[in-house]
């Protein structure tokens, strides 16, 4: 479980999140809200990329401030722009990157790479230069690079914003199929229609928190 207790976050004297308390344990959690409402900041708290100015964030009881490395093993993060999280020039090398830090034996690294490439129909792209992939393939690679680390949580910040409809659907299917708990911020309300829970942020506060059937219409009314 991920738990936030009375969290404040600010950059300089600009308050970005105020008094956020949440217990997250559902399998599929959506995060919505207007531009600048604090979604990304909230997501970045979950794996310790940023630390709260007040309050605590814990993952299975581990504080993100004091157990950053362990927390990041449990919480995988996918960014909006896959170009910024693909670190190695070739598909296969990039998939191996995180695993090398786990000191996994070579054959196990290879097995996980095979498995994830097959799962997303990318076996032919194993030795392909990452910069020549399409946008959808890049995002699948970015997600794969996180999944091979076998985290418990998959946190995604607008993973489909840069993609066309077909690739958005492809990513949505991929996300739908993972065993991990998923927390996804998005402006595409269709993506979270089937989720267990949706959290609506407004000006740095949790404005509404409940099933999508309740939260999404309220958000649509709010946006006019």
């Amino acid at each position: 479980m991920i738990e936030l207790r009375d969290v404040d976050l600010s950059f300089g004297d600009r308050a970005v999140l105020r008094g956020v308390s949440l217990r997250l344990s559902e399998r599929r959690i959506g995060v919505i809200g207007a531009n600048g409402s604090g979604k990304s900041s909230f997501m970045r708290l979950l794996n310790g990329l940023v630390l709260p100015n007040r309050g605590t964030v814990t993952v299975d009881g581990l504080d993100t401030g004091t157990h950053g490395k362990d927390v990041r093993r449990k919480v995988g993060f996918v960014f909006q722009n896959p170009d910024n999280q693909i670190v190695f020039p070739v598909v296969e090398e990039d998939l191996a990157f995180g695993m090398k830090n786990l000191d996994l034996p070579k054959d196990q690294i290879a097995a996980r790479i095979n498995e994830v490439l097959a799962r997303y129909d990318m076996t032919d792209l194993r030795e392909y230069p990452a910069h020549l992939l399409s946008g959808g393939q890049k995002q699948l690679l970015a997600i794969s690079g996180v999944l091979v680390m076998e985290p418990d949580w998959l946190v995604l910040d607008e993973p489909t914003t840069l993609l066309d409809l077909r690739n958005t659907r492809r990513i949505a299917r991929a996300i739908d199929g993972v065993n991990q708990h998923v927390i996804m911020a998005t402006h595409d309300l269709d993506l979270i229609a089937g989720f267990d829970r949706v959290i609506l942020f407004d000006q740095g506060k949790v404005a509404l928190d409940g099933p999508p059937a309740e939260v999404v219409p309220a958000y649509e009314r709010m946006m006019g």
């Binding site: 794996n47 990041r72 670190v87 020039p89 070739v90 830090n101 030795e127 230069p129 910069h131 020549l132």
Partner: protein, 198 residues
């Protein structure tokens, strides 16, 4: 230039990156020690033969030299005027052969293997505070982001062209710089998020 690795199963592809790197160093040194043109030309012949034996094409060999063609031309003219045309030809041949040999290494070696070899080779610097793994990561990031930077520059240039500003250095350089800095920030976060442990 940017499609660095060309997949294959030749002997050269399968050889250990570290040995290939050492061989290239020895080859480069030898090329710079000799002062006989036909030595250099013979070495060039060997390199080209290795291209073909590794399943690569003459076109790929030429592609290693092509980006440097203007620099080589200038070198040739300058040497020709200052010293002699024969020396000019010699110097240019030497550089061209070296470039081709270096290209052969990058085409037949995965970036990650090369980086592992560099990381291993730099191990002796550990006692003086150099972290070879970090140096290795730096190399791979450079390789990975050269094309991305090229693409950003392209996008910005097109956007400014639409506004008739493509000839303004500031209008192109500034957005590129800002996007690059922002990207560097994000990349650092991503490396962190992916559990990198130097």
């Amino acid at each position: 230039m940017l499609d660095l690795y060309s997949p294959g199963t030749s002997r050269l592809h399968r050889a250990r990156a570290g040995w290939k790197l050492l061989a290239l160093m020895a080859f480069g040194t030898a090329i710079f020690l000799t002062d006989t043109l036909w030595h250099v030309l013979a070495a060039g012949g060997v390199v080209v033969a290795l291209f073909l034996l590794s399943g690569l094409t003459l076109r790929q060999a030429w592609a290693q030299v092509r980006p440097a063609i203007w620099i080589l031309a200038i070198l040739f003219v300058v040497q020709g005027i200052i010293n002699s045309w024969a020396l000019g030809a010699f110097v240019v041949a030497r550089f061209a052969v070296l470039l081709t040999a270096a290209g052969l290494l990058t085409l037949t070696t995965r970036a990650s293997d090369m980086i592992d070899a560099i990381t291993f080779g730099l191990g002796f610097l550990r006692p003086v505070g150099v972290n070879p793994a970090k140096v290795g990561l730096t190399f791979s990031l450079a390789l990975r982001f050269i094309p991305v930077l090229g693409q950003i520059t392209q996008e910005v240039r097109e956007a400014q062209k639409a506004r008739g500003l493509e000839r303004s250095l500031i209008a192109v350089a500034l957005p590129v710089a800002i996007r690059t800095i922002k990207m560097a920030d994000d990349v650092a976060d991503a490396i962190d998020a992916r559990g990198y442990r130097p």
